[in-house]
């Protein structure tokens, strides 16, 4: 149903239920707003969006529209101005935005707001991109009738936590921040305290403002009341240059804008001043998580490698590129077909492609260090072109299995939560409770490590293979499976929690078959999504790399030379490297692996280089260089090509777009893609940034590309399900490594801001297990496996199923997959 009305004399037809403010916005008429935000429900608090509304007069008895002498409806305007933000359009209405009465009303509201505002724009971070500043220019009275000296003053700079600061004088009490935390991300950890002019935002949580999404409140804050600890007093907005980028931390692929400034203190170098969301309504809308926003300091850390190193007489010494590249080439030549390349999904497609081709030409192999299977299945069963999680709603279904999305991919968590709130059927299957459970219609619990059983149980109902009878699930599982089968659109997000590589392989297969049996393959909002450990793991599979089923140690069996890029197997304990004759390591930092290397090659971080990432939904997106590289480092694809040249292997070595052209010519799925195509944009709603920042916030408008989603391949051999791998021999406990958003991985080491939020190294287990294992009086537990002995702190939680214990990944315990251990109370 659509509704036709006139706004300032121009007729417009919009869907029923459209708010006047949005109808006007779509026709280019700006009604100012402070409290309204197009991603949230209207509250009508700030009162600045006042307009005159005229409605067709109706006969009281018949309800017929009254007509004047010339046959036009009689329009009645009420005595009071009304809210454009909270009033849905009506048929035949006449709305006046630009009338004298409406303008006067809005000017009055701005005047009232300014009586409580300190007007400290010259020292305010928001100055220059401030909705209040801009709307004051457009709607303010020009001079103050309020006595400036009578303004109330509060102590400024109130920390709501380590990340977000509050300036109470600047706050205009619009509640955008508290409503975002409450309505959008369901972390209601901030709220109003007191009343009247004394209203102020406080935090209820410990640590303060405890939410993975807190930074977004500073984007939608229409004044400088909320600022990030990262950017406050860092720069003026007009001094900043911006470059488009893609977040390198998880498979969501949030679009970013990196704001930079050249700084004398940094010898004239460009410095990343802040990381901001860039609108992509298909991917991250206008939000990013705090990891994406605050964990960028590693990219410009003084600890970055700036020069190649080679090992001379047992020690690593600085070397020229020529020396280092020659040494690397010699090592690989000597290794020949016994050469191995190891890389992670932290790299761009361009890097991974060059590495795979080089190793292939040598007769060796390039493998992926991210030990999770299924990239080949995502290529076939991935979500269809046009998939947009924010279009999921009533009648649609999503299954999330063996993953804790809130920790692993926060924006997917948010978008699936919102899909569930719009009525989509959300099924969450895991061995333990996760934060997505709160919104799930069906929660499926399985024993630790038995995700595949559950997936096959679902497949039994959806696919009906009689051989699957032994995986028959309980009533809840069957109800969930039937709901999934009935859905108009259905997606499966599978992760790796509680599974080893073989487990993920069986899970990926089962999930792909669930998708196949459900039908709708290739359609938007239908298909398989892998919750990869890294941003471009899917791209790595697409470029022809995959993990070795035998693990890195298996792959390294018999290898003579290893070329390890953006991976730290020595640091995370996934491989022993001592039998190699040549070890080449290419990375940002001198990692534990690099310390063992014969040649260390300094690579560029994501802020310095061009490239592409392929996200979990197989959307290929471009990142652009934001800053000049620290002298000495080179992009990975370039270094690989330079090594290749010395081995007479022809690789593109001049520019990332040319590498991508070669990818397009050799990788079938990418054949239609080009850098130009990836940079294409189209209008998005809501409007953000620029002149619209009062409306949508300071998220950047997307002018550099929405990316291109790849269609799933239509062909392939028939897929057969795999039985779950046999469980490891029972011990006291199964220790399950779980992903936490903030860990001690290489990217967080330089972000002091988040130090306090990094997950502590401790194991979490059921209180009954603590009792059973006789740990109740102890402070630590001693665990043993594979000849290793570790002491760990522990904490009870009834969310952890008995028989298992959770330990965060990458916080100090080198444990990559679920591992049975013996546990005992340490002897003091």
């Amino acid at each position: 149903m659509s509704v036709t009305l006139t706004i300032d004399g121009t007729s417009v037809t919009v869907p029923e239920g459209t708010l006047i403010v949005n109808a006007a916005k779509r026709m280019g008429i700006d009604v100012p707003v402070f409290c309204y935000h197009p991603k949230m429900e209207p509250v009508g608090m700030c009162r600045v969006c006042l307009v005159e509304i005229g409605r067709p007069a109706r006969d009281r008895a018949t309800r017929e529209v009254l007509l004047d002498d010339s046959g036009n409806p009689v329009i009645q305007f009420g005595p009071n101005l009304e809210l454009a933000c909270a009033t849905p359009v009506g048929e035949g209405w006449q709305v006046r935005v630009a009338s004298e009465k409406a303008i006067q009303g809005r000017n009055q509201i701005v005047e009232y707001l300014l009586t409580s505002h300190p007007l400290d724009c010259p020292i305010c971070d928001k100055g220059g991109e401030c909705p209040l500043q801009n709307l004051t220019m457009g709607h303010g009275p020009g001079e103050s009738r309020f006595l400036y000296d009578d303004k109330i003053h509060f102590a400024k700079h109130v920390p709501l936590g380590e990340l977000i600061y509050l300036d109470r004088e600047r706050c205009i009490q619009c509640a955008r921040c508290t409503r975002f935390q409450d309505e959008v991300v369901d972390d209601p950890v901030i709220g109003f305290y007191e009343r009247g002019r004394r209203l102020e935002i406080i935090t209820y949580s410990d640590p303060g403002f405890d939410s993975y999404f807190s930074g977004n409140t500073t984007d939608i804050c229409p004044v400088g009341a909320l600022t990030t600890a990262d950017f406050r007093f860092g720069a003026r907005p007009w001094e900043l240059n911006s470059a488009a980028s893609i977040c390198p931390h998880c498979p969501v692929g949030c679009n970013l804008t990196l704001s930079t400034r050249r700084e004398a203190r940094q010898a004239g170098r460009d410095v990343i001043k802040r990381v901001m969301p860039r609108q992509n309504e298909h991917v991250n809308e206008i939000w990013i998580c705090d990891k994406g926003r605050f964990v960028h300091h590693y990219a410009q850390s003084p600890e970055r490698l700036t020069t190649p190193l080679v090992r001379v007489s047992g020690t690593l010494v600085k070397a020229s590129w020529e020396q280092a590249l020659t040494r690397a080439a010699e090592g690989l030549k000597e290794g020949g077909k016994h050469s191995i390349g190891i890389a992670s999904g932290r790299l761009t497609n361009e890097d991974l492609f060059n590495l795979r081709v080089l190793l292939g030409e040598l007769g060796g192999k390039a493998i992926l260090s991210d030990a999770m299977a299924g990239g080949n299945l995502v290529q076939r069963y991935g979500v269809g072109v046009g998939t947009n999680l924010s279009s999921l709603g009533k009648g649609d279904a999503a299954l999330v299995i063996a993953s804790d999305l809130h920790e692993e991919a926060p924006i997917w968590w948010l978008r699936l939560k919102q899909a569930a709130e719009r009525g989509a059927t959300l099924i969450v299957a895991n061995a333990r409770a996760t934060r997505l459970d709160d919104y799930a219609q069906h929660i499926l619990r399985f024993a630790p490590g038995e995700a595949v059983h559950t997936a096959l149980g679902l497949l039994q109902v959806i696919g009906g293979d009689p051989e699957l009878a032994r995986f028959e699930g309980d009533r809840e599982l069957k109800t969930a499976a039937r709901a999934f089968k009935r859905a108009s659109n259905a997606t499966v997000f599978f992760g790796q929690e509680g599974l080893n590589y073989a487990g993920t392989e069986a899970l990926a297969r089962a999930c792909a078959l669930v998708i196949e049996a459900k039908g709708g393959l290739g359609e938007p909002n239908n298909g398989l999504v892998a919750v990869w450990p890294r941003a471009n793991t899917q791209g790595a599979w697409d470029m022809g790399l995959r993990p070795d089923p035998g693990g890195l140690n298996g792959a390294l069996e018999g290898a003579k030379a290893a070329y390890i890029v953006a991976s730290d197997p020595a640091g995370d304990g996934s491989a022993s490297l001592d039998k190699l004759s040549t070890l080449i390591v290419q990375d940002l930092f001198l990692t534990a692996t690099a310390e063992l290397a014969d040649v260390v090659l300094p690579a560029q971080s994501f802020v310095e280089r061009a490239g592409t990432f392929t996200n979990g939904e197989r959307r290929v997106q471009r990142l652009y260089p934001a800053v000049s590289e620290p002298s000495g480092s080179l992009p990975d694809w370039k270094i690989v090509a330079e090594v290749a040249r010395r081995l007479e292997v022809g690789l593109e070595d001049t520019a990332a777009p040319l590498v991508f052209e070669r990818i397009a010519s050799e990788v079938r799925d990418y054949s239609e893609l080009s850098y130009d195509g990836l940079a294409a944009v189209e209008p998005q709603w809501p409007q953000v940034g620029g002149a619209d920042l009062y409306f949508g916030g300071t998220a950047y408008a997307n002018k550099q590309g929405l990316g291109v989603q790849l269609a799933p391949r239509r062909s392939g051999r028939p897929l057969k399900w795999k039985a779950p791998p046999r469980a490891s021999a029972a011990q006291d406990l199964l220790i399950v490594p779980v992903t936490k958003l903030y860990d001690r991985g290489g990217t967080l080491r330089s972000s002091r801001l988040l130090e306090a939020r990094i997950a502590p190294l401790q194991m979490t287990l059921h209180p009954s297990e603590i009792e059973r294992l006789g740990l109740s009086e102890a402070e630590e537990a001693e665990i043993r496996w594979d000849g290793r002995v570790e002491r760990l702190k522990f904490t009870p939680s009834t969310d952890v199923p008995p028989g298992s214990a959770l330990v965060p990944r990458s916080v100090g315990l080198a444990l990559l997959e679920p591992t049975p251990v013996t546990v005992r109370r340490p002897e003091s």
Partner: protein, 422 residues
């Protein structure tokens, strides 16, 4: 007045004792409707009686009930006992002295609304009173007048008191709902109205204590009897709270349509110490101030007539002001009250009341220039028609009406620098 409808305890000794109340026919109305009438029939009786909400707005009570979204349950009934309007003290007397008639009214309303739970939202300062109400509710449960399957029917009703935390704004029904839900007491945007989405998003009736206390006599004695009292559009009696410069301050229950003159001079004994009356605040702080002209004094106190002379009856809490009192000082006190009580949710009320108070402080401190009285008036006008709930509107009306009607009283306080120089 010969007979009280609301303040019946003044005629009947010991009416706050359940035994006495029952002896006088108490809870007969409730029992009879539960046994014999459908909820719709009760709504029709109340509509026909012409009963209007006594909280201030004067909205027809039966009509309000009929807006409940059909077929959505559970529903809630809330007695608004957040009596906070300056000069209003009628609900307190009702609940203290005639509590069972009030509670029976709540029960009748709950039955009509098909609610099985009713809350009595008391202002925080009514702590002892709410304790007493809890005991009374206990007594009703013991007697089988509240609880499950009442009078052998399928109808069940539980009642609970809830204390506010000391906020005037929580008398506004949607702010009350927020507070009752455990949230910060700020009004909600309307629509939806509470009848559609009220407490916990469910259809809810919120009625004032006095409104509810009218229900047992209406059921007992019929709509026609009730509508024969008062005026055509404002039926029944009203408890007028009278305070200020008055010989006998207190509550007076009189039919709607009684004149200001009769109430002030006949019932309340006139102005003490032989002083002349200067002005009347007819609804506490929440209505324009009226100069006590002959025309005003002869105005009948009903919802329509008071509007005609430029104010409103509101909760009918008259504050009488004599010739010794400076009106600018009165309005300063009122503005100070609103500035303290504004919830801060909407801009014009939050910042406008603050600004008005700021100007008043300059005026009362004899530091203001003449143009600042116009500024005060202009700030008040700017608030009007823009605030989220009625509080901002009232705060502004108090000031603008006073400046318009009593300008010389403000002029007394300002210093005209130009004249000084001369």
């Amino acid at each position: 007045m010969a007979e009280h409808v609301i303040l019946r305890h003044r005629d009947l000794e010991g009416l706050d004792q359940l035994e006495v109340y029952l002896e006088k026919g108490g809870f007969g109305a409730f029992e009879s409707i539960v046994k014999k009438k459908s909820p719709q029939q009760v709504i029709d009786i109340v509509k026909k009686s012409g009963l209007r909400g006594r909280g201030g707005a004067g909205f027809p009570t039966g009509v309000k009930w009929s807006f409940l979204t059909p077929d959505v349950f559970p529903r809630y009934v809330i007695a608004n006992a957040d009596e906070s309007e300056p000069g209003t003290f009628k609900d307190r007397e009702i609940m203290e002295r005639n509590p069972f008639q009030f509670l029976e009214g709540v029960a009748i309303c709950a039955y009509a609304a098909q609610a099985n739970v009713a809350y009595i939202y008391c202002r925080g300062e009514f702590w002892d009173l709410s304790q007493e109400l809890d005991r009374k509710i206990e007594q009703l449960k013991e007697r089988g007048l509240l609880g499950k399957k009442l009078f052998g029917s399928d109808y069940s009703l539980e009642m609970y008191t809830h204390l506010g935390a000391g906020a005037y704004i929580c008398g506004e029904e949607t702010a009350l709902l927020e507070s009752l839900e455990g949230k910060l007491g700020q009004p909600r945007l309307r629509p939806p109205f509470p009848a559609a989405e009220g407490l916990y998003g469910k259809p809810t009736v919120v009625n004032n204590v006095e409104t509810l206390t009218n229900l047992p006599p209406i059921i007992d004695r019929g709509a026609e009897w009730y509508s024969s009292i008062g005026t055509e559009k404002s039926t029944g009696t009203k408890v007028f709270s009278v305070s200020g410069n008055i010989e006998r301050p207190g509550n007076y229950e009189l039919p709607f349509g009684t004149t200001f003159r009769e109430l002030i001079f006949k019932h309340a004994g006139g102005i003490p110490n032989g002083k002349a009356i200067k002005a009347i605040l007819p609804a506490g702080a929440s209505a324009p101030i009226l100069p006590a002209t002959e025309e005003v004094l002869d105005t009948r106190m009903d919802y329509e007539s008071v509007v005609e002379v430029g104010s409103s009856l509101g909760s009918a809490s008259l504050i009488v002001i004599d010739e010794t009192v400076n009106i600018a000082w009165v309005e300063y006190k009122i503005t100070d009250f609103f500035e303290h009580e504004t919830c801060g949710k909407c801009t014009p009320c939050r910042d406008g009341t603050y600004w008005m108070k700021n100007i008043f402080e300059r005026i009362m401190g004899d530091a203001a220039q003449p143009h600042e009285i116009d500024l005060l008036h202009s700030v008040g006008l700017g608030i009007q028609g823009k605030s989220l709930c009625a509080l901002g509107e009232f705060a502004a009306l108090a000031v603008t009406s006073a400046v318009e009607r009593f300008r010389p009283e403000f002029d007394l306080h300002v210093v005209d620098d130009s004249s000084k120089a001369a």
